[in-house]
Amino acid sequence: MNVLADQIFLLARRSVVRTIRQPANVVAPLVFPLMLLAVNSGGLKAETHLPGFPTSSFFAFALAVPFIQGALFATMNAGTDLARDIQTGFLSRLSLTPMRGIALLGGQLGGVVTLGVVQAAVYLIVGFAVGVRFASGPLGVLVLFAFALLVTLGFGALGAFAALRTGSGEAVQSLFPAFFVFLFLSSMNIPRNLIETTWFRDVATLNPVSYLIECVRSLIITGWDTEALVLGFGIAAAIAVIALALSSWALRVRMART
């Protein structure tokens, strides 16, 4: 057990150090979601005048989005790094050592989750600096961190799965637009009950990303909304379990090939 923990720790440290050494991989997940938040919260502030809009602060409403967008970047980081390990032969060399497959996956995801938590902290600090106050109080902040961790783990595992199946960083990168489609066709900019176009509302209702965003949003602007929390955590847990199962299977197949 201790050996496995050591292996996971070593690979997680490698994953974090490698990400930190590539400023683009740190800056983009931090800056890009905040930039989109600034643009949208400025441009769509007038939306708060719509009857039924749940808050008078569009910034507080939109603050949920960077948490999910940051997790999408985690997918890219985890996938691209793992794909590079495959392309450079690191994984092949690793398979000759006593390192266990689960340590590789755990280490890779450990690094991604660590960075995901750092991202969440930065988004929170920006939110507090702008004057957002959590309707769910300090406990809500802790729940939000737990949620960010779970979502980052799930999306990171998806990225790892894509990398292990394709072995190509380019293929992992090409997933990014697809994730962006999920993000934009959700309730990221307007509550679902205020979406006027029927087909868009239906798509947003079927889109799991809507529930991830609404879970975070509920903690910020509503307080303790059991339905939003159960749906959000349920979907995030389901994504994490499925993605972890898929990536474990893909790792076994990849190790057998190498």
Binding site: G42, G43, K45, A46, E47, H49, F184, T197
Partner: protein
């Protein structure tokens, strides 16, 4: 004459590359459609905000933004191709072979325009199919598309200037990010009058705001700020022409 011959050859090659490679062609068509769908479909309720008074509705309001955005990114994507040509060594051979090097820039600009025209046709067709209202006359619409053509040229010249200075694909974000910021710091979701605070201050001085407002005026059949919009767009194109030609000279000097 030599300039035109070089331009024709560069444009043909660039267009051949784009239209025979789905990974280059598809994103430039799909992304504007996606933004159009996400903004016009998802945010249509914004037209009920007090003070929103664009007569043709939210679909038409967003169409103009997405059209101009596609024009700008048509130029930027062509800039990626220029950087790729430098990275692969093709551009160096081109500089050696071309009797008129400004023809190279002209060729890329023609390719950017032709590439965007395909996107514009698809986007306009989709917008009309989903029932976009058009209040403007033929002359008004000519004004709208002419503005978009100038934006396309300005964006291409900006991206070409960057690509020829840095000569690597890693310059992609430097070409893309300022264009993205200029576009999104304009009144994207609501008219300028409904913006407040810092974004209103930035949008007021953003030259793209004039272009966007004039474009929306053209589509609604009530042209507004036409002189300022064409002035701003042409000034950007002129400034970036200088920037691109200087970039070309730097690429020549680098050998």
């Amino acid at each position: 004459m030599r300039t035109l011959a070089v331009a024709r050859a560069v444009a043909w090659r660039t267009l051949h590359n784009v239209f025979t490679n789905p990974s280059l062609l598809v994103p430039s068509i799909v992304f504007p459609l996606f933004f159009f769908t996400a903004f016009a479909g998802g945010l249509s309720r914004v037209q009920d905000v007090p003070g929103f008074n664009y007569a043709e509705g939210y679909t038409a309001f967003q169409f103009v933004f997405v059209l101009l955005q596609s024009a700008a990114f048509g130029g930027v994507f062509t800039g990626f191709g220029i950087a790729r040509d430098f990275e692969s060594g093709f551009a160096r051979r081109l500089l050696l072979a071309a009797p008129s090097r400004t023809g190279i820039l002209l060729g890329y600009a023609i390719a950017a325009l032709a590439r965007w025209l395909v996107t514009a046709v698809v986007l306009t067709t989709v917008a009309l199919v989903v029932g976009m209202n058009v209040g403007g006359s033929g002359v008004d619409l000519f004004g709208l598309y002419t503005l978009a053509v100038i934006v396309n040229a300005a964006a291409l010249l900006w991206a070409a200037g960057v690509a020829m200075r840095l000569r690597t694909m890693q310059a992609g974000p430097i070409m893309q990010m300022p264009v993205f910021l200029v576009l999104f710091f304009a009144p994207v979701y609501v008219p300028l009058a409904l913006l407040t605070g810092w974004i209103h201050a930035i949008a007021t001085v953003n030259p793209l705001t004039r272009v966007l407002e004039a474009g929306r005026g053209f589509l609604a059949g009530s042209p507004t700020e036409v002189g300022a919009a064409f002035g701003a767009a042409l000034a950007l194109a002129a400034a970036f022409s200088f920037w691109a030609v200087r970039g070309l000279r730097k690429a020549e000097a680098a050998g």
